[in-house]
């Protein structure tokens, strides 16, 4: 029964295409060029993405603090709203109205631009995420490459933030994160390549459709683990959180940032956490495919499972030292990623 509800949940793509066609017709009737309708639709996607980003950031920060608290025998925030749900709202609200200090010796324009670069790099990634069947803002045919390229931009923001605050600790934090992200991008890309090879296409939608519903994780166990490690390092979390190592570099590149500018970094870090989960779901866990539940719910469920694993890793392992970090990436992850690529290539050829 093709009722509206069924379409809304199970075949959102078709529903949106329907609206699109209707809007085109109405536009054409009024003599607007088709481009205007497209722009309006893209605007709609942007608003939806921004809304989702805000809600998700609020939820995920609370989720991490509650999960970490449970792992550590304590409660976590529960005074602000039911189960402490409004805690993050209070945090961001407070950060909004705090005094915003820019150190006098700081490099003013770069200091101001850095948080926006990091946040922009994060928001741009939403364009290619396949939330549900057809529910994908723009299914670029180079979706995967786009994702990897844009996620590289955030390191520019971090480096310039570290440099602009004119503080020894921030400078070291910035340099460390540059070295870390670059050296972990390489194995990440190779693993993504092997998945693309299996799916035979770089489009995110195709990768999800080409996968069996339980995803490539079973076909590519080594690849999945490598990808988790690499993405964990790329978002500066877990045992790899050297750039803002609290105990060594005071707070790394974020030392001089206060109030709203810091909130951008804070927001970007947690949205990156969700994006890492989402990307891992798309590539390895079969994206939105799954039996009964509607595709969007499957996608969010799988993403949050991966987010839970990343949180779990962060709160159990101590921090790596800089040279171990580099050694681990070049001497362990890279060979494994190459081997994985080779094995997949042979398998694809043979089967």
């Amino acid at each position: 029964m093709e009722t509206f509800l069924y379409k809304l949940f199970y075949d959102t793509g078709a529903l949106i295409d329907g609206w699109h066609a209707a809007a085109n017709a109405a536009g054409a009737a009024r003599g607007w060029p088709p481009l205007v309708v497209d722009i309006l639709f893209q605007l709609g996607w942007a608003v939806a993405a921004a809304l989702f980003l805000a809600l998700n950031a609020l939820f995920i920060i609370w989720f991490e603090r509650k999960v970490a608290a449970k792992m550590q025998l304590r409660r976590g925030p529960n005074r602000v709203g039911p189960f402490g749900l409004l805690q993050t709202l209070a945090d961001t609200g407070k950060l909004l109205i705090k005094e915003d200090i820019i150190p006098t010796a700081a490099d003013r324009p770069v200091f101001r631009a850095a948080p926006f670069v990091v946040l922009a790099a994060t928001v741009l990634l939403f364009v290619v995420l396949p939330f549900g069947k057809g529910l994908i803002p723009a299914d670029l045919n180079i979706g995967v490459v786009y994702f990897l390229a844009i996620s590289g931009i955030s390191v520019i923001g971090i480096l310039s933030g570290g440099w602009a605050s004119n503080n020894k600790y921030s400078l070291m934090g910035g340099m460390r994160s540059a070295a870390q992200i670059v050296s972990y991008e390489v194995p990440g890309v190779l693993v993504v390549l092997s998945v693309a090879m299996l799916a035979g296409s770089l489009k995110m939608g195709d990768i999800v459709r080409a996968q069996p519903s339980y995803g490539y994780a079973l076909l590519q166990p080594v690849g999945f683990i490598l990808f988790l490690i690499a993405s964990n390092a790329e978002i500066n979390r877990g045992p790899f959180d050297l750039p803002e190592a609290d105990s060594e570099l005071v707070s790394g590149f974020v030392t001089e940032y206060s109030a709203m500018r810091f909130a951008f970094f804070f927001l970007a870090e947690y949205t990156n956490l969700f994006l890492a989960g989402a990307f891992a779901t798309t590539l390895f866990l079969g994206g939105w495919r799954g039996p009964l539940l509607p595709p969007v719910v499957w996608f969010l469920l799988k993403s949050y499972i991966v987010v839970f694993v990343l949180i779990w890793i962060r709160w159990t392992f101590p921090r790596l030292r800089v040279d171990h970090l580099m050694e681990f990436s070049w001497k362990v992850l890279l060979p494994l990623a190459l081997l994985n690529l080779l094995v997949t290539a042979v398998l694809v050829k043979v089967l």
Binding site: A69, R74, R75, V80, A90, V254, T255, Y257
Partner: protein
């Protein structure tokens, strides 16, 4: 204070009532429920501060979760321990570096008035209030974690009563 009791929604101004109260309560609620502390342990009280952060007393329930090491990101400085004259410039610069609405909590006898050394030690500062304005005094040597939590909750009550318009 000027016709509004803390937390009420309606404010009776001379020209008629103005619904400014709700913004104030929202701002105060946000500020009071997320006070990030600056890790500033000087002596014995620091250990009780850590105990207050640990799982038995867990001040994360009130939103004091993230003890940040950099003064830029902290709202509250808990001075826990003995204040010595050599430390005075450091405390003052740290206080200056903290962004506005900042609060100072003097924890323990030493921070309030020099503690057991106040009578005749040649290097003691008799209380941190000689250096920075203090909001909350928590007596004890060292005060128990419950006393610290009680002090911080009083600070939250005080923040809720503040007005934004001054």
């Amino acid at each position: 204070m000027n016709g509004v009791e803390p937390g009420s929604l309606v404010l009776r101004m001379p020209g008629g009532n103005v619904l400014v109260g709700s913004l104030e309560t929202a701002v105060n609620a946000a500020r009071s429920n997320s006070l990030w502390t600056l890790t500033f342990g000087l002596a014995c009280c620091a250990i009780e501060m850590m105990a207050a952060g640990a799982s038995t007393y867990d001040w994360a329930r009130f939103g004091f979760e993230i003890p940040s090491a950099s003064p830029r990101r902290s709202d509250m400085m808990i001075v826990a321990g003995t204040v010595v004259r050599k430390m005075v410039p450091v405390i003052r610069t740290l206080y200056e570096q903290m962004p506005d609405p900042k609060y100072v909590v003097a924890m323990g006898g030493c921070a309030i008035a020099g503690g057991p050394y106040t009578y005749d030690s040649y290097t003691i500062v008799r209380g941190v209030s000689e250096i920075v304005p203090v909001d909350i005094y928590i007596p004890g040597c060292p005060p128990r974690p419950e006393a610290l939590l009680h002090g911080l909750m009083t600070l939250q009550e005080r923040i809720r009563g503040q007005t934004v318009r001054k």
